[in-house]
């Protein structure tokens, strides 16, 4: 009897019209196909007669060419009297040049379907152009006019000044922007990226100062040209020579910044009130004494990947996938002309603010002690970085941007080529040691932009000192 029931069941499973097919073969993840060779794209380099270097990365998939004239000058060269000067000067290039006013530049660009962009960050400035390859020459003409013949009209500056001042109000209102500005102030003090624009600093800028800044900083001695897309070095070099070959000007003598704000001696919560906010924006950071040229840079980079560098890192799996307190949490390592900064970032539901900070810190501590990183986590991080490499180079832009980084920060010329081997060479022990060396809980700055009335009590229970900041990151007087 028993036997026959079993038999019947087997028959039904295998043959019945409503049979569920056996899908157990699906339990085994498929093996990869034969690996395919990946060739890093190559850059070719030439030089104009004034010494200006040109790098070209070819990509003929779409009939577009991009050209970027990059400068190693930017906000870092602003003084306390000229905060914002590099940024507004670069923006003003597009407002009037040669015979063109702002509308004229816009219309001339449209006529050839070109995008012309100008701008400055803290470390560099650029004039960039992207155009259908058939219109390359007129687009280069327009780009050269914008770069070499800016007019800096007072009317245009008046309009931009109004806009910049209004933008400040936006920055002081948006929780994410507040965290960005205040974070810069905490990391850099009153210099370099810590020099924040205000209405007063904008009003102190003049069109004369912009013209002077452009003359002394936008020189071929401070520049490199990066070209990508549907052209070749041989084809574009004479076109660039005709427009930029007789441009002159030496490299600036100014020393790039090295100073940085020391870390707090004891972990401190910096709180900026955002009444009624449904979430708190959180940043936990520590300044590093290493940068990309340091011996243990890649070791620390990999440790960060395991902690919070990707979706499936510890921080996000904890705060999002386990707790549900956030839409996402990440950590990152960044560097600039000074040294690096390590930052963990998230936005969490207001009533989980203090608990989220505890979890960020617990994950840091446990990664250094009872729950050290594992070989599997390291393999995952390594696989992520190496596996996604080919598609990074699908267009010319990534390699060109890496070449610019190599130039700006004086990295080894073979940085891109050796990157994969450097990642492969990181051992678990070394990554673990780098973590312990560079992320120290007692020296964390924790920035919170959130609803003070709701969260201050639970923040106080964390036991760290709380410093209240205004929306520009300046300490407020104690009540």
């Amino acid at each position: 009897m028993r036997h026959s029931i079993l038999f019947t069941a087997l028959v039904c499973t295998a043959c019945g019209p409503k049979a569920t097919p056996d899908t157990s073969w699906r339990n085994t993840p498929p093996a990869p196909l034969a690996p395919r060779a990946f060739q890093l794209p190559q850059a070719e380099t030439g030089t104009l007669s004034n010494g200006l270097r040109v790098s070209v990365v070819e990509n003929h998939e779409v009939p577009l060419v991009s050209v970027r004239v990059a400068f190693d000058q930017g906000g870092w060269s602003d003084s306390a009297d000229t905060i914002g000067l590099a940024s507004v000067t670069m923006d003003m290039l597009n407002e009037g040049a040669g015979e063109y006013d702002a509308a004229g530049i816009s219309k001339a660009a449209k006529a050839i379907a070109a995008n012309i962009g100008t701008g400055a960050g803290s470390d560099s400035a650029y004039v960039s152009m992207n155009v259908l390859s058939k219109n390359l020459e007129p687009a280069l003409d327009l780009m050269a006019t914008v770069l070499l013949e800016p007019t800096f009209e007072q009317d245009d500056w008046d309009l931009m000044l109004t806009d910049r001042v209004a933008s400040l109000a936006s920055s002081r209102n948006n929780p994410g922007s507040i965290a960005g500005r205040a974070g810069s102030r905490l990391r850099y003090g009153n210099q370099y990226k810590g020099m924040l624009s205000s209405e007063e600093t904008y009003r102190a800028l003049t069109t004369n100062a912009m013209a002077e800044w452009a003359t002394s900083n936008l020189t071929p001695g401070n520049a490199r040209i990066y070209v990508g897309g549907d052209t070749t070095l041989d084809a574009i070099l004479p076109l660039l020579e005709a427009r930029f070959g007789s441009w002159s000007g030496e490299a600036s003598a100014a020393e790039k910044p090295t100073a940085s704000e020391p870390n707090v001696e004891a972990t401190t919560v910096f709180l900026i009130d955002k009444p009624g906010a449904p979430q708190s924006v959180l940043r936990a950071f520590r300044r590093l004494d290493i940068n990309r040229l340091s011996d243990d840079w890649f070791q620390f980079y990999m440790a960060n990947m395991m902690y919070g560098g990707m979706f499936s890192s510890r921080l996000n799996l904890n705060l999002r996938e386990d707790k549900g307190w956030t839409y996402g949490a990440r950590s990152s390592v960044s560097t600039d002309y000074t040294k690096g900064v390590w930052t963990a970032s998230t936005s969490v539901k207001t009533d989980t603010t203090a608990d989220s900070i505890s979890e960020i810190i617990r994950e840091i501590t446990e990664a250094g002690a009872e729950r050290q990183f594992t070989q599997e986590e390291l393999d995952n991080a390594r696989g992520y970085l190496l596996g996604s490499r080919p598609v990074r180079y699908e267009n010319a832009g990534s390699l060109l941007s890496e070449l610019q980084t190599i130039w700006l920060y004086e990295l080894p010329e073979d940085w891109t080529v050796t990157f994969a081997d450097k990642i492969r060479g990181v051992t678990l022990e070394a990554a673990q040691a780098a973590w312990a060396d560079h992320v120290r809980v007692p020296e964390l700055s924790i920035l919170v932009v959130g609803d003070r009335a709701t969260i201050e009590g639970s923040l106080a229970e964390l036991g760290y000192p709380i410093v209240h900041l205004d929306s520009d990151g300046n300490p407020m007087e104690a009540k």
Binding site: P21, K107, A166, P278, S312, R320, G324, S347, Y384
Partner: protein
């Protein structure tokens, strides 16, 4: 970097584009499996990477009453594991270098991952597993967790961002009760919170069927190998009853002008003027995109010159067509200058529009818009990810995968007269949304907590 002929985008014979001679094409082949799954293959061997992209013909418009936000919540659950890979999907994919995500909008839901070429089997295995075998791995715990995550997404992307609720208020006032577009994709907190396991199961069984999906693979693969893999992993997923997504609704007629004023924690007065407009790909859709270029693209555009540069009534202004499958809306959005009355700003915008209604746009303006549209098309189509997604969009929304030439031709065929007609077609009925700084004495009007 091989030679051009092997690569994904191929130039047509004519350098000059005309409606008769599409200037770009994306080579592909397509077929259906026996279970109805549509398959699109587009080779591009420029880098050893391949993009897998799946579109399901279901979006927020197909949600039932009381379950707003559900299509998007469901999308989240598709990453939480399935019968034969019970665990969150990011781990196994990220460790091979995959780029992975999914998106939901009103009209459809898509999922995509880019993987190194040799990992195509893994990507197809996972996509097939969640298409065919999601429910056995579904748990209350996963649902509860993702409900919290999605509600935090709502807080982060909408509520805790200045003007972040503008879209919410626009949809709410543009569309009548019961309209499929009444509530934006993110949904209401209480509806997200109310979703239960039965809802998830029913939604999966109704919509997540091979015969309601299209699988697009673009990049570096061998077609025979890919076809065999697709058959192996997707071939035995059973088809289900053909679902009936909402594909048409009666046009909405707004009665006159609805003005909504929202006080909020924002720094400036902003206005949105919105009209109902022709649906995606319908006559008038490309004309309104062209109108947008004339009105607000660049500092030589009409609204910028009149409103920002000359009269200085606004800091910024932009006009755009929000193209959707059932019906679209057209928006002019402006940030008022300090001290400027939003009503005066709207009045001046109306003056500029009246001039276009009276005198039309010029042939030159239309010509400039066209060549810039063409260039932007190339810029958008320069990655395998964009190509895989675009092919699926053409198939799902047009029923015509090979639509790229016709899509471009829509724009090449626009005339100045057509632009004027499209503007005339924006009915007098409209919604004006004004969000400004709250009076200190009143509380915020933000929804949800």
């Amino acid at each position: 970097m091989l030679i051009t002929a092997l690569l994904g985008l191929v130039l047509g014979a004519h350098a000059e584009s005309t409606p008769e001679s599409p200037i770009i094409s994306i080579p592909f082949e397509e077929y259906d499996l026996d279970n109805g799954l549509h398959v699109i293959l587009s080779e591009d061997h420029s880098v050893p990477f391949v993009r897998v992209n799946v579109w399901y013909r279901v979006g927020a418009k197909d949600e039932v009453d009381g379950r707003s936000g559900f299509a998007h919540l469901f999308e989240h659950l598709m990453f939480q594991g399935s019968a034969h890979m019970d665990g969150e999907y990011f781990g196994p994919l990220q460790r091979i270098g995959a780029q992975i995500n999914g998106t939901t909008n009103m009209d459809r839901t898509n999922y995509f991952e880019g993987v190194p070429s040799e990992q195509l089997p893994l990507a197809l295995w996972l996509e097939a597993d969640r298409m065919g075998f999601l429910l056995p791995a579904l748990t209350q715990e996963k649902l509860d967790n993702q409900k919290l995550v999605v509600r935090n997404e709502r807080r982060q992307s909408y509520e805790n961002r200045p003007y972040g609720m503008a879209w919410w208020w626009l949809f709410e006032n543009l569309f009548p009760e019961g309209h499929p577009y009444k509530i934006p994709t993110i949904g209401k907190h209480e509806d997200i919170d109310a979703a239960n396991l039965e809802d998830v199961k029913a939604f999966f069984r109704q919509w997540y069927l091979p015969n309601n999906a299209s699988l697009s693979i673009a990049g570096d693969f061998e077609p025979d190998e890919a076809k065999a893999l697709v058959e192996k992993y997707f071939g035995d997923i059973p088809a289900g009853p053909q679902p009936s997504p909402v594909l048409a609704v009666d046009p909405v007629q707004l009665a006159g002008e609805t003005v909504i004023r929202k006080d909020d924690d924002v720094p400036h007065n902003k206005v949105w003027i919105a009209w109902h407009s022709p649906a995606l790909y319908q006559p008038g859709d490309a004309e309104l995109d062209t109108l947008s270029s004339v009105l607000s693209s660049g500092k030589d555009s009409r609204l910028y010159r009149a409103i920002v540069e000359q009269k200085k009534l606004a800091r910024s202004i932009s006009a755009y067509q929000v193209s959707m499958l059932l019906s679209s809306f057209y928006v002019i959005e402006a940030t008022a200058s300090e001290g400027i009355d939003p009503d005066a700003l709207v009045a001046e915008i109306d003056n500029v529009l009246a001039d276009v209604r009276e005198n039309g746009v010029t042939d030159d303006e239309v010509a400039l818009a066209k060549i810039n549209w063409e260039a932007s098309f190339f810029r958008r189509m320069s990655t395998i990810g964009a190509k895989a997604d675009q092919l699926n969009q053409y198939y799902i929304h047009r029923g015509e995968t090979d639509y790229i030439g016709a899509d471009l031709a829509r724009f090449q065929g626009v005339t100045a007269e057509g632009v004027k007609t499209a503007l005339d077609g924006l009915s007098n009925g409209r919604v004006i949304l004004h969000i400004g700084p709250a009076d200190k004495s009143t509380s915020s009007d933000l929804e949800g907590n």
